[in-house]
Amino acid sequence: MRTAVVLLAVIVGTAAPAFAQITPCSAVNDPSSRSKILLDDIVSDASLQNLLQSLTSRLEANLEQVRTELGVQLKVLPCANRRPTGPSDFNRTTVSELNVRGVLMEIWGATTAVKDQQGRPLNEASIGYVIVPVRLDELQQQPAPGAFVIPHRAQPSTVVDDLIKLVDQAGRLGAYASLAVGSKSLRSSQWDEARKQLCAAEAQFTKLKVPTDADAALIKYAKKLAGDAVTRARADAQYSGFLKQEGVALSCS
């Protein structure tokens, strides 16, 4: 009987999806920061190495910009050899472990040569995002997506810089980072910070030139959480900040 239980446990333990490629990253356990953004490996075809380097440096620059603008002690940490295959890698267990280690967001990417419906060759740069606090809510039946991939395509004749401009994520990254910080602050009952970051996220989302379906859902989510911050602050007997004032509306604008 005991042997059977152990064997069953072994079988259940090894029956995990075979496609997961999230590998350890020492930065995840970095105790010096409780607000981290992980930048994973960018996977690339051998022929697209120049695109890979440009994309990596652009993402790093974007993240640095976000870190400066957000006004939060944010740490951007590289995770070499970590290559998530898609949003499904970020299951409840993984996201929960990232959350307790203070990871707010993880970004990964891939550049590949693909073909369109007419069979014409295209270069594709896909950027994957997981916004950890949002993903946690998503896995508890909150409809807003917390992990998704945004593909950017261009003709091979397009110069690399033009594709990189398409991929430029400063605005989008800023919105996602604000949303992550705001959502996390809300969980830890820091109502003022939550409200501030969630309203900032909403404003940045509305500025996006080409919002995706995920962005549209995330704007609604940010609005809802910003309202929740006010409601919960008013219900908190220990809180005595400005959100308790009568003039503060639920909506940001």
Binding site: V6, A9, G13, T14, I22, N29, T94, E97, V103, S188
Partner: protein, 223 residues
């Protein structure tokens, strides 16, 4: 033997008294014949004692062989589990196979938990749960010991894993310790080592909240 005796009464009339005296030889004592017994039993005793010592030595030797075999068998799995490039699937497979070794795998798994990250922690916790289903005492002992040390020697992440596994395995006598731990959380007496300043610092409120949630969940488990 028969005896005959002539006696005279006070009037001087002779009488004859006949009596029979039987003389019997004393019977020998009915005790245990120890020398005979010892003579008979000593070969059997010698055989039993010999067998006992032979068995003890054999069991000890086999135990050592088993420990050596366990260590050799676990080594490759630990190398895989602790490797830099282990994927979630590989970590889970290695940890689950380690669990099949049973109680001897507890010590290396708990040690591995000290540096475990988002990839290895779920795998190691799963393996400890699997062992704990069969051998709760083998798992509960070390994990309760980790929780007892609240000075920051063990990281709060290790405490968190210990609390979760203790709850799942339903360790006996864990409730009192968990309640003490909960009180320590409420009193903010738990500390963490800050490598930047090399000082013990109280846990941040955010981490205290995370641990509280796990302790509350563990205390909800029926014991």
């Amino acid at each position: 033997m028969r005896l005959s005796m002539d006696v005279h009464d006070t009037a001087g009339a002779p009488h004859q008294v006949n009596a029979t005296v039987e003389l019997k030889q004393a019977e020998p004592e009915k005790g245990i014949d120890w020398p005979a017994w010892i003579g008979a039993i000593s070969p059997i005793l010698l055989a039993i004692v010999g067998l006992y010592f032979t068995d003890t030595v054999r069991v000890g030797f086999e135990r050592q062989q088993l420990q050596l075999a366990n260590a050799s068998g676990m080594q490759a799995l630990l190398v895989q589990l602790l490797g830099d490039k282990v994927s979630q699937t590989e970590a889970r497979a290695a940890a689950s196979t380690l669990a099949a070794f049973g109680p001897p795998a507890v010590a290396p798994l708990v040690t591995a938990l000290a540096d475990a990250d988002d990839v290895r922690t779920p795998a190691i916790e799963g393996a400890l749960r699997a062992i704990g289903l069969n051998e709760p005492t083998a798992v509960c002992g070390p994990l309760l010991s980790i929780l007892e040390h609240q000075t920051g020697r063990y990281s709060w992440l290790m405490h968190r894993s210990a609390i979760r596994v203790i709850a799942d395995v339903r360790c006996p006598q864990a409730r009192a310790l968990l309640q003490t731990y909960k009180q320590a959380l409420a009193a903010s007496t738990l500390k963490a080592f800050d490598p930047a300043t090399e000082e013990w610092k109280p846990l941040p409120p955010e981490i205290v909240d995370l641990l509280k949630a796990d302790v509350d969940r563990a205390l909800l488990e029926p014991k």
